[in-house]
Symmetry: C3
Subunit: 327 residues, 3 copies
């Protein structure tokens, strides 16, 4: 049985779903980012809309609530001229005892073209992609602690924009990597882009076990880990984790791992600071850094729209080409 990495590509290696950054080739990622760059420049125009997906139906399937991510997908879909339907899972037929499988089959029958799936369980978007009819594209908008591929792609887009090709860069990821789908997807993406130096900075309790296999070097002391890096990626501290005793207090975290101006000076002088948002000021990041010239956090947000447009356009276009071939 094929896994997500195989399922998301068609026979010709084109992207028909986006489930994970794992297994994506440098060429495919580069082509996605080039497309996103194009959409990004169009965003500066008076009319930000292109008719690429006119008449297509995008369905938001958010089993886990996330206003921000849903909003960026909504805006991306609108700017491609697609129609958007949001299914409120809590009040939908799922709550009337219908199986997920039957809900999906119904949405298919309504001739949806793309599902944006967010789920608290890792693997849910893959489960869905594996069961939908061939003509529907599935985009993973975050599944459990597993993957968040559009976030990783917008991170790569931002890195490339500010620092050039990742195959020449040192990237440090700081914080709770163990529970972070953002970190996991970014690491796979950076590896695909042949990034030679990926570092993880966190206390031992917040580091996953497989980092060495992924070629990631680990650091417990932030001062060591930041030395000479080009890119710093801060992760959001999930407060729920602290309750579980896995994390120190916010104050303690900031003292040990918070990004301050002093610590920033340990990196290269033109290093950039990234964060998937929403930021916790005074926890992961000091105000001076968040509002300083090296932070590119808001630029990540802008790139997020362009990357999601590129992913939607590319997956639907693969599905359409494949549908023609099946005729």
């Amino acid at each position: 049985m094929p896994g997500p990495a195989e399922l998301q590509l068609n026979r010709d290696g084109n992207l028909r779903h986006l489930l994970t950054t794992e297994g994506l080739s440098r060429e495919l990622i580069t082509s996605l980012l080039d497309t996103a760059d194009g959409f990004r420049s169009a965003q500066g125009q008076p009319v930000k809309k292109v008719p690429l997906l006119r008449g297509k139906t995008v369905v938001n399937l958010f089993f886990e609530n996330s206003t921000r991510t849903r909003t960026t997908f909504d805006i991306a879909a609108h700017r491609l001229s697609a129609d958007v339907v949001t299914l409120d899972i809590r009040t939908s037929s799922a709550s009337k005892g219908e199986t997920l499988f039957d809900t999906l089959k119904n949405l298919e029958a309504m001739q949806a073209d793309l599902f944006v799936v967010r789920h608290s369980a890792g693997g849910a978007p893959f489960f869905i992609a594996d069961r939908v009819t061939p003509h529907i594209a599935v985009v993973n908008a975050g599944d459990g602690t597993h993957a968040h591929p559009t976030q990783a792609l917008l991170d790569l887009m931002t890195i490339r924009q500010h620092k050039g090709d990742p195959n020449n860069l040192s990237v440090a990821i700081v914080g709770d990597l163990r529970h972070s789908r953002v970190a996991r997807s970014l690491i796979h993406g950076l590896r695909a882009m042949q990034c030679p130096d990926i570092r993880a900075i966190a206390p031992g309790t917040l580091l996953p076990n497989d980092l060495a296999d992924l070629g990631v070097r680990t650091f417990h002391r932030i001062e060591e880990g930041l030395s000479g890096v080009d890119v710093i990626v801060l992760l959001r501290l999930q407060k729920e984790r602290m309750i579980a005793g896995l994390l120190p207090s916010e104050r303690e975290f900031f003292k040990l791992y918070g990004m301050t101006e002093d610590r920033l000076r340990l990196a290269k002088s033109d290093a950039i600071v990234m964060h998937p948002g929403p930021i916790n000021r005074g926890v992961e990041i000091a105000n001076e850094v968040a509002d300083g010239p090296q932070a590119v956090i808001l630029n990540q947000v802008t790139n997020g729209i362009a990357v999601r447009m590129a992913v939607m356009a590319m997956t639907i276009s693969t599905q359409q080409a494949d549908a023609l071939c099946r005729l």
Copy 2:
């Protein structure tokens, strides 16, 4: 005072609201289904959207929650290029003590073109249609146990597609007919289409009293009722009814009335199985039948979009023609 059947037609017999299938002529239903067939084939095109209702405002007035039905109306409106406004009745002015009448007058003043009305009280869409200004079309999306005319029309469309003209068919409806607006609307629709053999299959407690007047034959034993039919329509078991003691347990219901492969063999060999959804697997229908070749349940969903497009397009077009005449 005219009833729903009269109110929904203008002087020339054209459809200006859709409140009930009762009193619709064979000609009018045929014309609606022909229009829906046209929209259905357009759904296979890369661009599924037509500019027919561009600039029109469709208002969803869902006094009773129904994600699925609302979604199908939303998609239908989008594919006609209309704008959709959904009024959350729970947080709207109605909760500020405004009368329904005043809420309607306000929506009229915002120049809405069509109201999609779902209400737990039978007759509510008629009440509304009777009070709105002439230029607004009202479509009943289900009112109490009274009517669900778009469901009946999509059922007729599905029957016609698979089995041809209903004037030649035997149709069996199975389950809680007493509380079912779906059954009631379908029976009126089948009668209008001159269906010669309509059967109701249920225990006595779940049969309405007026079936004989409607020309429907009743059966308590499913084995008898299914004999030689062309079309089987299963109704959804409303779990709320069971609490009221009107229904046996789910297990008991399935044993007595569940659609199994064995029972399906009693019908004609090319009989189709329909269900308004969402289905309860193992209650009204066995997995083997739900996923088998004779089930056309998902095709009903696809037809539902096309039928709702046809109803919206036709009612608004009548309203527009009438408005021109009033000039």
Copy 3:
């Protein structure tokens, strides 16, 4: 530091935000109303939609719930062909501890073009307009007891339509002026339009202290205040105020200040009766007046769409012209 009145105009005196009617010139208001008149006549056309804001993104930021006002802004945005994103503040990142400032910066980065802001705190839209990047227009959809400028503009539009230039009219405002943003914004608007006779009718506990400074004459007895006026503006009785003991009972209020046919006869014979809605029948207004020929309450609703279209079109157009100048 400039206040709302200065901040909402650019150097050339054009409207780049709409925060308050205070300080708007007669010329600017007239130009807004003329634009709204144009949109209003377009609403009678079969296609009510104009492509003026195609590809623009309007974000609803409703910190205080108001289905009706949000619906009118939604419809106005759709009729200008803009895309609308509604941020559910209760479930958004704000609830994850993100500061309002950071939420705004994120929406900016998504290249929103206009924020529609409703907030229970007076001054919130000004706070936001003061902090957003220059290219985003902010429209105040009601802030605390401070201002509700689009309501005032639609009131002025309705007055002008029925009674001509306000510089020739007597206008009486009846009810809880003390807690009413509607009254405050309308008084500023009427003064800008050089209305020579503005009257406030209410018990002393419901009158603000600064009416004399605003040139408004106060009346405690409605019979005196209505004498010979051209326009009567009723305010909605906020039931929450009664709980605080500031208002008499509903029955008492109606007895003392309710608009009855008898009282209406005290005004000019062609006087109009206005109300921002939703109306409380039998509290502020008798049924006979609400449904009578002198009430123009529903016409206010229709004008509300046109005025909001004009405000959105004009502010975004100023922002675009300014952006070109900054190039």
